[in-house]
């Protein structure tokens, strides 16, 4: 991290033009690129001023066109609506409706219900994912554990499985008739549980996410652990520190930034959950088409063709997400990003 701040500061010299080797500079430049080497003293300071913009240019153009413009467009749409003019002739015109769409969205119980379900899902998925990832990372870093390489690779494997395919796989595994979980219950004489009932479906969906993301977070945390100075452990061990104490008192506090960052991504991921419940909807009636906020927006915008209402709801979700993640960032910034940016 220190090299980061140093180098950023060091670039201050870029714009400060050439001093000594101008003659040779002009020579090499002339053969390197076919640009005229005429007034080197005037031209050199100009180039580095333009160069950074050429490097960030493509990203800026794409970000403006594909991130900023769509957001602005949605904002505009959310204040507009369709008005059928001329009494039933079906000539619809777009008009400015002010906050109407927002009022409609915010007074719709479906929105709150979907946010509530998303919250329940997130409260299961995020802590369990992060907890398991941290646990497995610490176990991988624990010297006495066997089969570490095999476990690391195996637990990482689900990350390669697309969310919708994972939802399908688990969906089948919950389904009566093909479910090994239900079979296991039956085998020991217990009643077969309904794995996609009104309540259990929250765990069913959360489980798909947990299964898919534990390994990725585990590897990130494990890499952070590997980056810690080993000397630290040795002196602690010599002082009689047990492996458990070592993990909880030394390792965990030192990788808190990594935990926070991965946790933040897990929360952002939970806020925008869509694919998994949408796919599992094809296998169960417990998931409705407005189960989570994003499904609600999708339904409004594309199924019931209420583009304007969908836009307003999308803006509300964006706002909630931004406030939530920026707020979290602000609280955690000093620990998560260190002195960066």
């Amino acid at each position: 991290m220190t090299s980061q701040t140093q180098s950023v500061r060091g670039t201050g010299r870029v714009a400060s033009g050439p001093a000594p080797g101008d003659a040779s500079a002009a020579n090499v430049a002339a053969e390197a690129s076919a640009r005229p080497a005429l007034p080197p003293v005037r031209r050199r300071p100009l180039r580095p001023r333009l160069a950074p913009w050429l490097f960030v240019g493509p990203a800026l153009v794409l970000a403006a066109g594909l991130l900023l413009a769509p957001l602005v467009y949605t904002l505009v749409l959310s204040f507009r609506g369709r008005q059928v003019a001329g009494g039933g002739l079906g000539l619809a015109t777009e008009v400015w409706v002010g906050l109407d769409n927002y009022v409609r969205s915010l007074t719709d119980p479906a929105l709150y219900a979907s946010f509530g379900r998303m919250l329940v899902y997130a409260l299961i998925a995020v802590p369990v994912t992060m907890g398991l990832a941290l646990l497995f990372a610490l176990l991988l870093d624990h010297l006495a554990t066997r089969f570490r390489r095999f476990s690391r690779v195996s637990i990482f494997v689900p990350y390669a499985v697309p969310g919708v395919i994972a939802a399908l796989m688990w969906g089948f595994m919950y389904l009566p008739g093909v479910s090994p979980i239900r079979d296991a219950f039956a085998a020991v004489g217990l009643p077969e549980p309904d794995l996609m009932g009104p309540v259990s479906v929250f765990f069913a969906v959360a489980n798909v996410t947990i299964w898919g993301s534990v390994g990725f977070n585990m590897v990130i945390l494990y890499t952070s652990l590997r980056g810690l100075p080993q000397e630290l452990y040795e002196s602690a061990r010599l002082d009689g520190c047990s492996e458990l104490q070592l993990a909880l008192r030394i390792k965990v506090p030192l990788i808190v930034p990594g935990v926070i960052l991965t946790g933040l991504f897990a929360i952002i991921g939970a806020l925008q959950v869509f694919s998994e419940p949408n796919m599992m909807m094809t296998l169960t009636n417990s998931i409705t088409s407005d189960w989570v906020p994003m499904m609600l927006v999708y339904r409004d915008a594309f199924v019931t063709n209420d583009l304007y209402g969908g836009a307003a709801t999308a803006m509300i979700i964006t706002l909630v997400t931004l406030v939530a993640s920026l707020g979290l960032l602000k609280v955690l910034q000093r620990r998560a990003f260190g002195g960066e940016s």
């Binding site: 090299s3 624990h142 554990t145 040795e234 010599l238």
Partner: protein, 304 residues
């Protein structure tokens, strides 16, 4: 006091007793419970994949009638595979090709864009730099899912919604990749070399190509892989953008198969074997590429 400190380095790795002597037996014994927990995690990760393999061997009538974890050897696998390849005149192969096209094309473009932007942000000081970085960082926080709908509306306005470009273009911009590229460029591209190059009169573009890119390659591979997986796994963007089946990637293809379920008797069999064939190459690719990952990048723990 100095003697244990010297041997401490090797002894510490093998496990040390209270008296400072390596205790191999103690280490093993302490490792049983952690090992069991780790193996439970491994089973949790692998059992669904095993279930998929077992289920893919079952013919049309067997899926719901035979024991779930025991594979069948009555030729169901070949039967399913043939049916899958024949489904909708080879739609599965078309979707697979599309998935590869979107993932490789989008990830290559995103990596190039991110490399340039990350390098520009890390190695130059220019007015507006902080603004540019903040603008891009906020992009990380806006859910891609929420952007997909307005992106569709906008791309529909300019008439390319439904085309390959409507999926490829949004995949090319990845704020998170730019953030990673910036951290990485700052850590591995030496200022001294850039300065020396400037004194020798190399153009800024040439410096980027011949000084900056080479040390950045491991980080760029990571960025490519992360973006590749993100696009391969993406569902909502293509689901919203595309309407013609021949442009679908695998994820949307499976969804459409599940939705026309009832008129295809063995659709579950087809989807199950399709899932298996879709994930096996990706898992193998991952295992093969493992050594090239620099996931420490993601948590920001880059050591220059």
């Amino acid at each position: 006091m100095s003697a244990p400190a010297v041997t401490g380095r090797t002894a510490g790795r093998a496990g040390v007793g209270r008296d400072g002597r390596p205790t191999d037996r103690g280490t093993r014994r302490g490792g049983i419970l952690p090992t069991i927990v780790l193996l439970v995690g491994t089973a949790y990760a692998l059992v669904p994949v095993y279930w998929l393999v077992a289920a893919s061997t079952k013919g049309a009538g067997e899926l719901f009638t035979t024991s779930t974890l025991v594979p069948s050897f009555t030729g169901g696998f070949v039967e399913n595979l043939t049916a899958l390849l024949a489904f909708n005149d080879g739609a599965f192969l078309v979707w697979s090709g599309n998935s590869v096209l979107y993932s490789v094309g989008g990830a290559v473009a995103a990596t190039i864009v991110s490399a340039a932007a990350g390098y520009g942000l890390a190695k130059y000081d220019f007015p507006g730099k902080q603004f540019v970085f903040t603008f891009l960082l906020i992009g990380v926080l806006i859910p891609g899912v929420i952007l997909a709908i307005p992106q569709y509306l906008l791309l529909a306005k300019i008439g390319i919604a439904g085309s390959y470009w409507s999926v490829l273009l949004p995949c090319m911009i990845s704020p998170f990749s730019i953030y990673l590229a910036r951290i990485y460029a700052a850590a591995v591209v030496p200022d001294e070399l850039l300065e020396a190059g400037r004194l020798d009169g190399a153009s800024e573009w040439r410096l980027f190509r011949s000084v900056a890119i080479v040390p950045m390659v491991p980080g760029l591979i990571t960025i490519f892989l992360l973006q590749f997986v993100a696009i391969w796994n993406n569902f909502l963007l293509p689901f919203i953008m595309l309407s013609r089946e021949e442009t679908f990637p695998l994820t949307v293809g499976f969804y459409s198969m599940m939705n026309q379920g009832t008129d295809q008797l063995n659709v579950y069999n087809l989807v199950i074997i399709g899932c298996l064939i879709a994930i096996i190459p990706l898992i193998l690719l991952f295992l093969f590429l493992q050594r090239y990952w620099r996931l420490d990048l993601v948590s920001g723990a880059v050591k220059g």
